[in-house]
């Protein structure tokens, strides 16, 4: 404890296996065990103040790192939506192909980085944390069929259709063919079958 100030301490029960692991980590970092665990608890409280849980924040970090590594950029949403609205009436099919190709590329990137089943799960997590403003993302598995349902209360029809192309591109590269699909403003239901 710094400057000889002694704070009141409380004892908290923790699984002994976890204590062993934490001890190892603290030793490797050259940090006193007490300071290391205090830092972890402080970060958990910070997360709580952000109305998040730590597990979700660590998951999100992993998703963001993957997206940085795969060449994603941050752009103003308003500009993206403006451009889509401007181009879509005349070039909708071309845009869908661009989104489909981008999805195929990202699917290949995921397939190279992760195992096939992990890649699909990761992609679903990514959709939740993505730019598409999705309010609901669910994936159901029935034998060889995956049913993906995406809902957004704000996504315009053009963006919804482009999102569907992107998702189909990713899933194609992960070895899934589209079996059924339904798309309306802010809602996509797609069944994929493992090829």
């Amino acid at each position: 404890m710094s400057k000889g100030v002694v704070k009141e301490r409380k004892l908290i029960a923790v699984p002994s296996e976890l204590v062993r692991e934490l001890n190892e980590v603290a030793n490797r970092k050259g940090v006193p065990f007490y300071d290391y665990t205090a830092e972890a608890l402080e970060q958990a409280l910070r997360a709580s103040r952000m109305k998040r849980i730590l597990r979700e924040i660590v998951d999100f970090y992993a998703v963001m790192e993957m997206r940085k590594a795969s060449g994603h950029v941050l752009i103003p949403r308003d500009t993206l939506n403006w451009l889509i609205k401007k181009l879509y009436p005349k070039e909708g099919n071309d845009l869908k192909n661009v989104w489909l190709d981008a999805g195929r590329w990202f699917g290949k990137f995921l397939a190279a980085k992760l195992h096939s089943h992990e890649a699909v799960e990761f992609f679903v997590k990514m959709l939740m944390a993505s730019e598409w403003e999705l309010d609901e993302v669910s994936l159901e598995k029935k034998e060889n069929v995956l049913r993906l349902r995406l809902v957004s209360f704000t996504l315009p029809l053009e963006n919804t259709e482009l999102l569907m192309s992107y998702v189909e591109g990713v899933m194609q590269s992960l070895g899934y063919a589209t079996e059924n699909r339904e798309c309306m403003r802010g809602m996509i239901n797609i069944d994929f079958r493992k090829q």
């Binding site: 730590l54 597990r55 660590v58 941050l74 949403r77 989104w99 981008a102």
Partner: protein, 194 residues
């Protein structure tokens, strides 16, 4: 039954953890267990929990400012295509307006150091840029942006965005040099040296 050990924690921290556990309907044991597990997980990723939580804060701020993620090649293709097919003028106007909006956003959000706030936000956004900086001294300054993968069209648009933002932040561009992937803008406080 899981074997347990007792962990000493600062009393204030422990009390706050008890409160969070109650709010989440969890036992203190399971909450602390979960937190420490995430600490080990972050360590295995070569990170500290502080960095992970800091990064989340940055992303929240960026989202609050209306930014979204897009695949870079897709975005550059679409922008470049539209730019070359005759939408250049309206696109430059749109990017300039968007820059003005963000400039005003930072004037309202950080009135005492709005240009620094804008610079920090853009630095966080510029994952792909090898260099981005804004320097201001005695009412004059310079923006430098170097990003090898920006096509010329996007470089022009991004310079329009920066020009719009500087205007809203109270500056006037005095010199602009834009070539593929490289932007250099010199500026002065609006109304000075006229």
């Amino acid at each position: 039954m899981v074997k347990r050990k007792m962990l000493a924690a600062d009393e204030g921290l422990a009390e706050q953890m008890v409160r969070v556990a109650e709010e989440r309907g969890q036992t203190l044991f399971s909450l602390v267990n979960e937190v420490l597990e995430q600490g080990v997980r972050a360590h295995d990723m070569g990170l500290t929990l502080k960095r992970v939580v800091d990064e989340r804060g940055v992303v929240e701020a960026v989202r609050e400012a209306g930014f979204v993620l897009a695949v870079k090649t897709l975005w550059f293709d679409v922008v470049d295509g539209a730019f070359k097919r005759g939408a250049k003028r309206s696109m430059l106007k749109k990017w300039r307006e968007t820059g003005q909006w963000y400039g005003k956003f930072f004037v309202a959000k950080k009135p005492e150091n709005s240009i620094e706030g804008f610079r920090d936000a853009v630095c966080n956004l510029m994952w792909g840029a090898s260099e981005f900086d804004i320097e201001v001294k005695n009412g004059e300054g310079e923006v430098r942006c170097i990003s090898a993968d920006f096509p010329l069209s996007y470089t022009e648009l991004f310079s329009a965005f920066l020009g719009g933002a500087l205007e809203a932040l109270g500056y006037r561009c005095t010199e602009k040099d834009v070539s593929k992937g490289v932007i250099r803008i010199r500026f002065k406080v609006e109304g000075e040296g006229e």
